[in-house]
């Protein structure tokens, strides 16, 4: 599908219907998810705080997924010098940063009443998500600092890929560090034995976030395509 979409005109034609469709789907899934969320009973251990799980875990999933998209788009941008891939990478970054920030904040709000601390240093997932946020901001900072788009594209792509390679290492390093400290037993978000009354809304919310990202990503890429066209037009008008 990707080679077919690589053509900008075909992408625009595709996203014209795909984006609103995904958006509508996301809204429906969100509504369904929230209904199931708030009809679910409080947890035996966490009480009502369990409801934070339904917006924290999907955000955390998306923070990783969006970075994978950013990395994939960057790879195509770098290797094939593909402008649309670069537009896709650029469009994904703020979406990823936003959802990662949401994950961090909701995670902190979940942690305080349940395991007693706003933050737990030495939890692999928390640290990885924090580093992920820093990687997104680094990408956007570099993008903003390089004015020449022809140079910004490969530079940001290299950064994205270096970050992508580092991410699992970051996670593993904290896993190792925690084994050294036998850190506090962090409440497992969505452990393997999550009962259906929680698992179903969680999965639906996850899908809602996923389709929502899909819709927003497509619209942002469309914006990028138009931005380039406008820039080209301006250059021609000035010539």
């Amino acid at each position: 599908m990707i080679p077919a979409l690589a053509n900008p005109d075909r992408f625009m034609a595709f996203s014209r219907w795909a984006a609103p469709l995904l958006g509508a789907l996301a809204a429906l899934l969100l509504a369904a998810g929230l209904v199931l969320d708030f009809t679910a009973p409080p947890d035996a251990r966490q009480g009502y705080a369990v409801h934070i799980m339904f917006i924290h875990v999907p955000a955390a999933w998306m923070s990783l997924f969006v970075y994978a998209c950013l990395g994939g788009a960057s790879f195509f941008s770098l290797v094939f010098r593909h402008a649309l891939a670069r537009a896709a990478a650029r469009a994904a970054a703020p979406l990823g940063a936003g959802v990662t920030a949401a994950a961090l904040i909701t995670g902190s709000l979940w942690g305080k009443p349940t395991w007693g601390a706003w933050w737990v240093w030495g939890d692999p997932r928390l640290t990885s998500v924090l580093v992920l946020f820093l990687l997104y901001t680094a990408y956007m900072a570099l993008d903003a600092a390089i004015e020449d788009e022809a140079r910004a594209a490969p530079a940001t792509a290299i950064l994205a890929l270096v970050g992508l390679i580092n991410l699992p290492i970051v996670h593993y390093s904290v896993v190792w560090w925690r084994s050294l400290h036998q850190g506090p037993s962090v409440l497992r978000a969505g452990g393997p034995s999550l009962p259906p009354v929680y698992l179903t809304p969680l999965l639906i919310m996850g899908l809602a976030y996923l389709t929502g990202f899909g819709a927003l990503w497509l619209v942002r890429i469309r914006g990028e395509v138009w931005r380039r066209r406008a820039a080209v037009m301006a250059m021609r008008a000035a010539a």
């Binding site: 708030f38 955000a59 936003g98 979940w110 009443p113 929502g212 942002r220 469309r222």
Partner: protein, 53 residues
């Protein structure tokens, strides 16, 4: 189907989390749509002979 909104002592945390999420996600939606609208308008040739994509 009974909705349970009684958060008890967890209220500031739970509603805080939902509020922050709504703000961030809503902000992303608004920003994305605003940007797309703005660039679409800019890309439209002033003396328009082509139809918008």
């Amino acid at each position: 189907m009974s909705f349970d909104f009684d958060a008890g002592k967890y209220a500031p945390y739970v509603w805080g989390a939902y509020a922050v999420s709504a703000l961030i996600l809503g902000g992303l939606v608004a920003d994305t749509l605003a940007r797309a609208r703005r660039w679409r308008r800019a890309a439209r040739p002033d003396a328009s002979t082509e139809t918008a994509p």
